[in-house]
Subunit: 213 residues, 2 copies
């Protein structure tokens, strides 16, 4: 398999972590989002949204959209389970995962920051306030769904919701979102980063990671 990935992309981080947790090997193809490599015509034929991640299976099938890719990975290599099989458990875990993937992340990525710049001449402080504001709003809702004493979202092992949380918390750290009000999210992110398969997927551990001041 080939995974088209960018180190700081939190959606790539989710998929890297899932592949690692399943013990699957894959080749990483670097897509430099800041340099605009996602707009290369050859890449667009793989992923018409000009986004990462893209997973190309050994048979040649091309998968896009991180949450659809995670669904495929979990259906194809079921151990360890990332999405419960019981419909109600599944709905609860997906609700937390989607609270990150649909309510927080889409408002907090590079293309949106660039659009605020281009369309409204947003200052650096306004961009930070935008990022921090949506994350704080989303985190407040998610925190209310989480139990106070479990290591992960549902018990003792990370699932799809934990992968969404740990990757979004990386972005929260990057944008200096105050986290005092979110002890459950902070605990879950710390526990995820203590899992070697997840830590290996962390942006700082990717071949394209850069030191940014």
């Amino acid at each position: 398999m080939k995974l088209y990935s960018y180190w700081r992309s939190t959606t790539s981080y989710r998929v890297r972590a899932a592949l690692n947790l399943k013990g699957l090997s894959y080749e990483t193809v670097l897509v430099d989002l800041v340099a605009g490599a996602q707009k290369d015509p050859a890449y667009i034929t793989l992923n018409p949204a000009a986004a990462v991640p893209t997973l190309v299976l050994d048979g040649g099938a091309v998968l896009t959209q991180s949450m659809a890719i995670l669904d495929y990975i979990d259906a194809t290599w079921p151990e360890p389970r990332l999405i419960p099989t019981d419909p109600l458990d599944r709905a609860r875990v997906l609700a937390v995962a989607h609270s990150v993937a649909l309510d927080v992340h889409p408002l907090n990525n590079l293309r949106v920051v660039l659009a605020l710049d281009a369309k409204f001449g947003a200052t650096s402080a306004q961009k930070s306030a935008w990022m921090q504001g949506w994350m704080a709003k989303g985190f407040t809702a998610i925190e209310a769904h989480l139990a106070p004493n479990t290591p992960f979202v549902s018990g003792d092992a990370p699932n799809i919701a934990d992968l969404c949380i740990v990757s979004q918390m990386y972005n929260a750290d990057r944008w200096k979102v105050p986290l005092d009000a979110f002890p459950n999210l902070a605990r879950i992110a710390a526990n995820c980063m203590a899992v070697p398969a997840i830590m290996a997927a962390h942006p700082d551990n990717q071949p394209d990671a850069k030191e940014i001041k």
Copy 2:
């Protein structure tokens, strides 16, 4: 079951359509998003994100997040299937559904328009350009995934991707997004609206629909 819903909410539309396609009966509880009813403390205890839809099952379980609710509905009442069971078919259908639900809709809803107003004093023309721009960008990517001659995303019956498309196309019409470049999306939306169960879920057919000039 009780569905907390708002007529113009495209995420509510998706869930209404799914419940109707399955032939399930449910009580609709109206949440007036424009009046701020979603911020009522009693509602927040049900849905901490202060969003619609929320589905309360007969046993009392509370489900949030439209895509997680659709997953639950399909797992619990499998006929007609809205999400394929084969992992690769499933990944492809979810990729289209998520292209709407993660890449388009989150940037195109009421709370974002209000934020552009509050933070950047966006004019009416700037707000229209924002809505039209993200929809056109997302639709361009989705159009590339669609086959030119099938009535729906995958063949002869609507699935979860079609439900995401028809509801987003309602919003596109509302914001006057030019659709000439998107014949596949237009055909799919028209075919969806010819299905009585989906048309019954259309915003204009809800009890809280208002005539808006």
